[in-house]
Symmetry: C2
Subunit: 551 residues, 2 copies
């Protein structure tokens, strides 16, 4: 019998990547990347050249189809397999990335009359121009004591479906009226593959406020804006698809785009971070997966539902069907290290790194590792990009305490590494205190390459750290879902055990170092609570002043 | 009638500088510098090569005499005048710099039996090895409610006479016993010039705890150590000389060293910071002189005595005779800017500065000046070297709040410039609140060259800023004292008006900018009080941890 293969397609912010994977054991045979021709439109609209406002971020949905047409055939060629041996395809996407469409799935931006209307395009996850709308959404929800609010740690984001929808209504009512469905790109791409629209449980819950089968009420939406009353019922509500479920069979048209066989399984849509959990064989309660890159996203399953203060959200079947999926995050991690290296490190360190044949990050890490814990006398707050969990406050900012005339660049670098580990411990501790204990910490993403950083995380959190054993975690996670949709495995969990790749216990906490870090963590907590929980609002006032004088 | 000249000799940490000045108008004719052959002995004792302990700093008094032998004749040659037209000489010195001597002024380190005993040498101002002794001195004074303690802002320094004396007693009792006088180098050098020991009112008050004609009591000294009971009476107490007074006539021996005429006036000794006030024509109440270099020393006269919290001290006749001299300080100013440039500024800024033909400090200043006040969203605490006034706490450390992923190196540089201005405003405001209003701020020292920094100080303090108009402020100040001692002027004040050099109102506050800085200053005050006044002792714990793990 011929080997069976599946394809996972990972839709990122600037490109899509297709990966060919063997069903039997998860072996990766070949991949290909296709850059979106329109990339991110954040300054001008490509069709008209018109300027976009600050914090806008749009995409053209045709680019997503072009990934199917280009990256999938190329990945199959690179894998050296026959397309006829591919039995399923699945995708993961950035979220919340929203496409306004007609009832048949046609994006409004493809209608001639809307071609130059920016609100008819895809609003990318990092479109932040709906912050005023999000502020009203949160304010009203708090005032009304909306029961769904605690499911999102007490605050929802300007990135999510409600804020993006309200912005369209109020800034482009003609687009809002024409829009028959407001669809996650994660689901829209599946619709293109199999001709069926299913709303995946993950984004419907995390980004679309669906909790216990209910959206926020008509009354709530009406109070936001009378014309918004039926937003959920008319624009969002749709049949839910469970993760790993077969959404449908590949259409003849999609077969022609990709070279795959018509009718093969297409899985329900999914999200990049969440799909990484099965790729790392981390789908059981207590296994927290951290995708650590410029920022960190934490996802974890649990068999009960609890309201964890400051989490991003908890969704029934949000990571895998049958468990409650929890999500949290740190707004800045690798971004902070990159900012520091680009803005605060003298040239001699770069010269030394070059001479030693090391990256500047590895060179600074090596220097920083020479000191005993606490020897630098520093503690930093990792809030350069705000705090996503557990404070949910983007008016906070980075801080460092303990500078002296002998403080070195590598000491501050190490304090920044440590500060992100402290931020993670704050999340882990908050989950545990809320009834959702973390027993293992599994790392995916680019930062897992820094072994010293990983050891700091193990020591600071007192958790064993496992690391994903592939550079293509999300695409592998999608391929796992394809192998479930194709019927090759009975569940995502079973497929993950066979196809996932992880190095277990790559780093173990060293108790003596954990005790030493406890002392520094106490200082972090004191600063965290003082600046983040109302002791002082100096950070907010500084941001306000900055906005005033910049205006 | 021939022109009359005076010589001022400024004894610094590493060298002595002689300056020839015309009596009639303060014109500077020539100068010369002589580096101390022994420099600062802070690692080994030169005579034996024996290692010194941490925080030790010694000098050899012969070096001071060698300045007279070398720099004075060379300055006269450079001035192109006749030595016979010099009518007086005066000096200023670092303080508290202490020489243990026999009754005739012979330094103990010149006795063969003490040549290899480090305690027999000059303890330089920055000898910090007597900190444990200072801690006991302060603790006991607080417990006993010693009335002199508030005259020093509530705490005396390990640099001062009592701490240095107690260290000698307890670590080298044989030196303590042999020592017949414990003399400020400021007075010892005058003794060498005119053969007369007078204890100048400035150091006797600021460094020797002489207040209202009294030293601390026998009972107090006995409680510190029974053998210390007569320390003040036996080792310190001596006839006080007022500043500007004639200490005596130049001896034949000193005339032979210098080429000057035997019998010319030798003024009472003085201190570098204090002598700068008349050099800048700033001897009246309300005129605060700031000598701004690596650190800043503030001196100001007032006609009444008040206890200002956190000042360094107040001394009757401490700056000029007849007024109460107040002193305060900031432990790190230029040092902080230098640390930042050496440790936190990327190479591209140095390249740009080189291309533009600017110093790195000027380049960063120019970049920083482009932003509106508050646009950087930052506030820093200028405590990288601790806080001398008004918190008097060297366990504090530098801090910066408000960092984001778009913060630039020049923005942080500017926040550091501003933080030192805020530190100055805190001192100015504290003086005003204590009954000692500041009406004009006169700057001497190297940092006056940074015009943008000066404008920040004017805007932040709302004070007109005048700047001294010489690079040789202390030496000119000494020359002014020489011209009083020679009888050419009736008072230091009168001599200062004729010979001092200042550019009045070089920078004036701009009210709109002052109002904008008020907002940032409020944030500085909040952080200052939180970290400095007991809201949080995180800085002290970080220092303690650093010491523990470094030990």
């Amino acid at each position: 019998m011929a080997e069976r293969y599946v394809i996972g397609v990972d839709y990122g912010t600037l490109s899509g990547r297709a990966l060919v994977v063997r069903v039997s054991d998860g072996h990766e045979l070949g991949s290909a990347v296709y850059d979106y021709p329109h990339a991110v439109m954040d300054r001008v609209l490509a069709s008209s050249g018109a300027a976009l406002g600050p914090d806008w971020a749009l995409q053209d949905p045709q680019d997503y189809v072009d990934v199917l047409k280009n990256a999938v055939p190329e990945a199959i060629r690179n894998a050296g397999i026959s397309a006829s041996d591919v039995v399923g395809i699945a995708t993961d996407f950035t979220a919340c990335t929203m496409v306004p469409v007609l009832a048949d799935g046609t994006p409004l931006c493809e209608l001639p009359e809307f071609r130059n209307n920016p609100h008819s395009y895809v609003k990318l996850w990092k479109h932040h121009a709906a912050q005023p709308h999000a502020d009203r959404i949160n304010q009203l929800a708090r005032e009304r004591g909306e029961p769904w609010l605690p499911r999102y740690g007490g605050q929802i984001s300007s990135e999510w479906e409600l804020a993006k929808g309200l912005q369209i209504l109020e800034e482009a009512p003609e687009v809002y009226e024409k829009m028959e469905k407001f669809v996650e790109a994660a689901d829209w791409i599946i619709w293109q593959l199999c001709g069926t629209y299913l709303r995946n449980a993950c984004t419907a819950g995390y980004k679309g406020n669906l909790q216990d089968g209910e959206y926020p009420t008509r009354e709530y939406f009406r109070a936001l804006n009378p014309k918004f009353e039926f937003f959920a019922e008319e624009k969002l509500q749709h049949t839910i698809g469970e993760l790993g479920e077969r959404a449908g069979g590949l259409t003849a048209e999609a077969a022609s785009w990709t070279g795959l066989t018509e009718g093969i399984a297409v899985a329900v849509g999914n999200v990049d971070a969440h799909v990484t959990a099965p790729a790392a064989k981390a789908t059981n309660p207590g296994q927290m997966v951290a995708i650590m890159g410029t920022s960190t996203c934490h996802v974890m399953n649990h068999d009960q539902i609890f309201e964890v203060p400051g989490m991003c959200g908890v969704v029934d079947g949000g990571i895998i069907s049958g468990l409650f999926g929890y999500e949290a995050g740190q707004s800045g991690v690798g971004d902070i290290f990159a900012w520091y290296v680009n803005n605060q490190v003298p040239g001699r360190y770069f010269d030394e790194a070059k001479t030693a044949g090391l990256s500047i990050h590895q060179h600074l890490t090596n220097l920083a590792a020479k000191q005993a814990i606490g020897e630098h006398g520093l503690v930093a707050l990792d809030w350069h990009s705000g705090n996503r969990s557990v404070l949910v406050d983007h008016e906070l900012s980075g801080t460092i305490v303990g500078l002296t005339l002998t403080t070195t660049a590598e000491e501050i670098y190490r304090a920044l590494l440590e500060s992100t580990a402290f931020g993670t411990r704050m999340i882990v501790d908050t989950f545990a205190q809320s009834g959702v204990p973390v027993k293992e910490f599994i790392v995916a993403g680019g930062l897992l390459k820094n072994a010293y950083l990983m050891q700091i995380y193990a020591d600071v959190t007192r958790l064993p750290i496992s690391v994903i054993d592939t550079d293509q975690g999300p695409a592998l996670g999608s391929a796992i879902h394809a192998a479930v949709a194709s019927g090759d495995y009975p569940s995502v969990n079973a497929a993950a055990q066979a196809m996932g790749r992880v190095i277990k216990d790559a780093y173990l906490p060293i108790e003596e170092r954990s005790r030493q870090y406890d002392a520094l963590y106490r200082e972090y907590v004191e600063l965290h609570d003082h600046f983040g929980r109302g002791g002082s609002v100096v950070m907010k006032r500084l941001k306000q002043l900055k906005r005033e004088v910049s205006a």
